[in-house]
Symmetry: C2
Subunit: 158 residues, 2 copies
């Protein structure tokens, strides 16, 4: 699964994580190479799925999405049908930004971005009406003290 990347690939990825709008010439300059090799490496990494997509990151507060909750979910049902339904509900709800299935006594964690606490309650009511859940704990974020999509490439070396 893990792609074979050399030092130059990692430098290119680091640059693109920082600013995906950099020109090929500028990236080439930073990694001490030239346009064509950089272009070929980027194309290869897109094709192999290392680079998923390029996106604009927005300020949630500026958009009026001022509440962020981490939701700890316990369920008593673990069959495939329930899981499929749960997954479908999560996918269909744009306020669910992340969902992970966990090891241990908590089954799932969700990250949910909404306008305010009232909007979270609306989401919560919809969730528990659509799928059977044993126990839910919501953790309300007071302050996002760090938030990055930049993966630590330096720690990924084999």
């Amino acid at each position: 699964m893990a792609a074979r990347l050399d030092e130059m690939d990692r430098k290119i990825l680091a640059a693109l994580q920082e600013d995906a709008s950099l020109s090929l010439d500028e990236i080439a300059r930073r990694v001490s190479s030239s346009k064509t090799p950089v272009w070929n490496r980027i194309r290869r990494m897109k094709e192999s799925g290392v680079i998923l997509r390029t996106t604009a990151l927005l300020d949630a507060e500026a958009l009026g999405l001022e509440a962020c909750f981490f939701v700890l979910v316990r369920t008593s049902e673990h069959d495939a049908g329930w899981q499929g339904k749960f997954l479908q509900v999560l996918q269909s709800r744009p306020e669910v930004l992340e969902a992970h299935r966990l090891a241990g006594d908590i089954d799932y964690i969700l990250k949910v971005r909404v306008k305010n606490a009232r909007a979270y309650d609306t989401f919560y009511q919809a969730l528990i009406s659509e799928v059977r859940i044993y126990n839910v704990t919501a953790l309300l974020s007071m302050e996002e003290i760090k938030s990055t999509t930049i993966l630590p490439l330096g720690l990924a070396v084999d």
Copy 2:
């Protein structure tokens, strides 16, 4: 704080969240406008901080970062000095992708991306040696069932 955005601004943001490499012409076509107004709106939204930056999203698994933990932190110390030191440690550690200060009996939640469980333990040992922590619970992700940076603009409407 919340910026005033009209329907066209939101459509432009939706397009850029989906694919920040779209050309102005293509975005203009999608929002039924033309190049210059779209360009002016994007510039304005960058300047006002609604658009933070554009980035390449990478596949953590493909990079060999195969373990993801959510870390629930309780502390007994709540003075400014401790908080500053804790913040500084989080900022300096690239494996910490997110950190939130919470309401309730859990004080902080962290999202940590590392190569494997062993690498998490190294991080954990470093963390508790650098800053005094009362209680830590690590939730290990078995499966990322949803992950998006796309904010729900439709839910942000006033």
